[in-house]
């Protein structure tokens, strides 16, 4: 007992830290990571390693040599970016392509804005979209997986891609669906051929439920995305089922669940208030459906999240807490 410590109240602190919250997100992503490796084989594990490694290395190097500040990689946020980036590309992507994606995600989308907490756009999505426009061939060559237990790769279109191509060729949605043989029950646990992380809806939802139980995130953003996608597609599908796909198909395909559970809920790039989160989610859901139905890309979740990321400062200004005892 030496000198007494004298500091202002409060004198105790929660055990939660940035690192513990980020670690929870990593844990929540593990089911999806494991499933993607099982489905797509060791190559997917290599991609995850390169992506996480490149993200960590870059953040460390930028803080150490350019910002000349203590490294922030201990907060694990770069690990999440790395995992999400790898889960957002086809497993056939060359290792050097994903390394470039990591450089863009961490170097441009995150560190140029000042690092964690300062970035406007979700780094993993920014990296993915950068790769999509820079290396469209690698990013849209979807292959049926070999898996850990070996099968020859077959190049094929994702359900969303097949619908887009089919409609352009003049077929009706019903014909395309019949030809593709899509079974919603199977899509729930083995949605193969797209980005690695989209493979298993159940694994993603399990991680989402984990985050809710640990009170890391709140459900409003994710639920409002799902609700908006379901409602928008219900209206269009109800009007013309030959031209527009049905709600269940839209909920289960593409990167919707991955995006809604793990990328739209990123603290830094989503609104602070519950109602702000609802507006943000509705925007993402609606834009996703507009791009899927009317855009030239088959999938729009990434673009929708990026666009709504840009609105977050405005949304934060519009929605405030209800103050105690004030009108």
């Amino acid at each position: 007992m030496g000198k007494l410590l004298v500091t202002p109240s409060p004198h105790i602190h929660t055990k939660d830290s940035t690192r513990s919250l980020m670690l929870d997100v990593v844990i929540a992503l593990l089911p999806a990571v494991i499933v993607s490796v099982v489905f797509y084989g060791w190559r997917e594990l290599m991609l995850l390693g390169v992506s996480v490694g490149a993200c960590l290395l870059l953040e460390w190097a930028v803080t150490r040599f350019m910002l000349k500040k203590p490294s922030t990689i201990g907060d694990l946020s770069a690990v999440i970016t790395g995992i999400l980036l790898a889960l957002n590309v086809p497993y056939t992507t060359p290792w050097w392509v994903i390394a470039i994606g990591a450089v863009f995600a961490i170097g441009v989308a995150k560190m140029t804005f000042g690092g964690i907490g300062q970035n406007i756009f979700n780094p993993a999505i920014a990296g993915r979209v950068f790769l999509l426009v820079s290396f469209p061939t690698y990013m849209t060559t979807w292959s049926q997986p070999q898996g850990l237990f070996g099968l020859d790769a077959i190049t094929g279109a994702t359900p969303l891609g097949a619908v887009k191509e089919g409609l352009l060729a003049g077929s009706s949605v019903q014909d395309i669906m019949a030809a593709g043989g899509y079974d919603y029950a199977t899509m729930l646990y083995a949605n193969l051929g797209g980005s690695a992380g989209e493979a298993c809806a159940i694994a993603l939802l399990a991680g989402f439920v984990y985050l809710l139980c640990r009170r890391v995130i709140k459900p409003w953003i994710t639920l409002s995305i799902f609700a908006t996608v379901a409602l928008t597609s219900l209206i269009f599908w109800g009007i013309n089922p030959a031209r527009f796909t049905d709600p269940l198909f839209n909920l289960l395909t593409g990167g919707l669940i991955l995006g809604a559970c793990f990328m739209a809920t990123d603290y830094v790039t989503s609104p602070m208030s519950a109602w702000g989160g609802v507006v943000f989610g509705v925007g993402i859901g609606f834009l996703t459906m507009m791009i899927r139905y009317f855009g030239s890309y088959p999938e729009g979740v990434s673009f929708a999240i990026l666009i709504m990321n840009a609105f977050v400062p405005l949304i934060n200004m519009a929605f405030h807490q209800k103050k105690f005892g004030r009108k």
Partner: protein, 472 residues
């Protein structure tokens, strides 16, 4: 569905490790140091001189203003000095030093253990006895109780709430008081309710104290069977949540009414008094015993001897600590009060005040702050704020020095409960920054109000001068 307040709040571990420790009287020290600033408001004015002999319960200082209170000697002996002495933060306060000789009480004090349950007919008499007893709010703010019991004209009290939340972790003196002196507390509550015009009274107690809830309900049932003055008293079990013991939060929880910004509880028809204040009221009104001793929780995981002790006002903290085994080796901080809103002790030679509710010993692992990192915009501070403020925003505005925006975002409503800083995963010292900004903004608001008042008066005077001129 148990009631609680409607916005924000946190759930720190309640750490009530001293809950089984009954209140035991502590030995009287050789010398007591009674501060003349025991309460919010003007310091009291001493009415004794050096060399005077005093008895226990004798008045040694009288109110120094409307919001002020009597102070009584807590011991018998000789006044040694009257002058500045350092308080627990190290700031000098006018203090009366009394060398203790024996323990001779004023004859007027009823020292029998008999419970006096008859409530005086005249409410004014109760208020006067409370005033003469030097009673102040013992929940932390030490606001003179009699002032709270005289609602301003035009306002009407509809309910008395007895605050038995003790929502601060670690503290258990109110809990022990409810268990051990429940009858006196209930009579005290009835007295205060009578003073307020016979209003209904509700005890708000958190559900982590089921023994206290059951005990007080039993006492009320017993007393109301024979005296209808007790039939209007009830107990409400509240969810455990910090800061439920905050006045505005407790009124919201019990009555579902929100006191407006800058408003007083009476504006929504409520008066809140703490459990210990109710006990002090009982003693002052029924036993003629002024407030000169209070119970203090001595606690902390590193503190070897958990205890609740009854100490005379003015007992040096070091005397209490030494009689319970001294400061533990691994303690780095001593907090007067609870860990959320208590004040760190800089000077262990400082003496207790009427409102000293506990001393908490914390280790480095428990209390040393971790280095702050970047805000990750998780919004936990805003979720935790019981006033519905946005601490992340207030911090940003404070760093930018934007006083107008700080005022517009209600920084003045901050109750400094510490929920924001507690819950920040990036360890950002939110409350430290907001507290300073709040003080600056309040200064500006007060200056503006004073200026407006002066302007209005000048205009009035000018108008009158003009009027008399034209008349002349």
């Amino acid at each position: 569905m148990k009631r609680t307040f409607s916005i924000g709040g946190i759930h720190p571990h309640d750490s009530k490790i001293s809950r089984e420790c009954g209140i035991k009287p502590l030995a009287i020290p050789g010398t007591v140091y009674i501060s003349l600033s025991q309460h919010i408001g003007a310091p009291a004015k001493p009415v004794v001189a050096v060399g005077d002999k005093v008895k226990v319960g004798q008045v040694i200082a009288e109110p120094g203003g409307f919001v002020s209170a009597f102070i009584h000697s807590s011991v018998s002996g000789t006044v040694k000095s009257i002058g500045p002495r350092k308080d627990l933060a190290g700031n000098p306060q006018m203090t009366v030093e009394i060398a203790v000789e024996g323990d001779e009480w004023l004859e007027t004090i009823d020292r029998t253990p008999d419970l006096v349950t008859a409530i005086p007919e005249d409410g004014k008499e109760i208020v006067e006895k409370i005033r003469l007893g030097g009673i102040v709010g013992l929940g932390g703010a030490t606001f003179p109780t009699h002032v709270k019991l005289m609602p301003p004209p035009g306002s009407k009290c509809e309910m008395l709430i007895i605050n038995g939340c003790e929502c601060e972790p670690y503290l258990t003196s109110d809990y022990r008081t409810l268990l051990e002196r429940g009858e006196e507390v209930v009579v005290g509550a009835a007295l205060i309710a009578k003073a307020l015009g016979g209003v209904p009274c509700t005890f708000g107690i958190e559900e982590n104290k089921p023994e206290a809830i059951a005990h007080i309900r039993e006492i009320i049932a017993k007393l109301s069977a024979s005296d209808k003055a007790y039939s209007n008293i009830s107990v409400m079990s509240l969810k455990k949540r910090y800061p439920q013991g905050g006045e505005k939060q407790l009124i919201d929880a019990v009555m579902h009414r929100q006191v407006g910004s800058g408003g007083l509880p009476i504006s929504v028809g409520a008066v809140v008094q703490n459990v210990a204040t109710a006990l002090a009221t009982y003693e002052a009104v029924q036993k003629n015993k002024p407030l000169f001793e209070n119970s203090v929780t001595m606690t902390g995981e590193c503190f070897p001897q958990q205890a609740n002790v009854m100490v005379r006002v003015g007992t040096p903290l070091s005397f209490i600590i030494d009689s319970l085994g001294g400061i533990p080796e691994d303690a780095v901080k001593i907090v007067s009060g609870g860990p959320m809103m208590g004040r760190a002790v800089a000077n262990v030679d400082a003496a207790t005040l009427k409102g000293t509710g506990g001393l908490l010993f914390l280790t480095a692992a428990q209390t040393v702050r971790k280095e702050a990192s970047a805000c990750i915009r998780c919004g936990r501070c805003a979720d935790a704020c019981p006033m519905g403020l946005e601490p992340f925003l207030l911090r940003k505005l404070a760093l930018a020095g934007d006083m107008a925006a700080l005022e517009a975002n209600a920084v003045a409503d901050c109750i400094e409960c510490g929920c924001c800083l507690y819950s920040c995963p990036a360890n950002i010292p939110l409350l430290d920054i907001i507290r300073l900004a709040k003080a600056d903004v309040m200064k500006i608001m007060r200056a503006r109000a004073a200026e407006a008042k002066a302007k209005a008066e000048a205009e009035k005077a000018a108008a009158e001068a003009k009027k008399s001129e034209s008349n002349g």
